[in-house]
Symmetry: D2
Subunit: 90 residues, 4 copies
């Protein structure tokens, strides 16, 4: 469910980028192009959020409830790393 | 030049997104998918920066050196708006 | 430990902001001021990451390993919300 | 005017950070602390936007309308750099 939704939105965003390519080919106003790129970036953030939410409810929950302390540590560290990267990426 | 470079990178990022779709179809690890999405967002930021740089050296320079105070005000306001949106988007 | 480190860094960033106030009072170059503000924002992101990491290893781990499904759901939803807000804030 | 407003808001945000220090000292819930840090970061972005807007209407306008091509290039490059840093900072 989550996966299908993420796939659908990623395909839609890839189509959006191809539309932005056409804007550039037609010499559309730079600021309008930048705004469309920002909208595509926001759409990608929504996809990441959907995937993270699914991940927390599956892999993370399983690992944290499990008996392997290293595995538990690994999944939690990954969450912090993704959060750190979100602060920097873009 | 700037435009061709931006077009090339946007097409490449659209291809990247289609690769991420395949990762999801193959049930690849969620965190790896999120990292790829963050890389695509960073690539889009590089495109925006290239376009903004071109815009500053063309439209903005022309308007600021020109005689129409409203036009000058408009291009400067757009820069601040794009900056504001950058702080929020993603 | 985590808490003391977070407190120390927050106090340091508050001091940094007061230093930026002095830069403005001395009419320092705008771009230098903006760069200092961006550095203060990055420092705050490091504090959030430290706190999130501590939270994952304490409250989240306890709730996910616990028997209350609502509580488990609540802590996971908060992580997704913080991630979403990170994508937007700034 | 712009400067006084920026100073006022920076002082207010420094006060906000000291309030967050107290939240940590009182062992308040981690997620609430993170949300307050994110609010402080958003407030700092508003200050940067105000300062950038003033900069565009003063130094940038003067340089772009002036006769020194190196100076013109310098102020435009700084705008692109600030935009790039905004994409990364936080």
């Amino acid at each position: 469910m989550t996966r299908d939704e993420a796939i659908r939105r990623l395909k839609s965003t890839a189509g959006h980028l191809n539309g932005i390519v056409r804007m550039l080919e037609e010499d559309r106003y730079c600021i309008d192009v930048i705004r469309q790129i920002q909208a595509a970036q926001a759409a990608l953030s929504r996809v990441s959020e959907t995937i993270l939410d699914g991940h927390l409810h599956s892999c993370v929950t399983t690992a944290v409830r499990g008996d392997d302390p290293e595995e538990r540590e690994r999944v939690l560290r990954e969450i912090t790393e993704v959060f750190r990267q979100t602060n920097k990426s873009g």
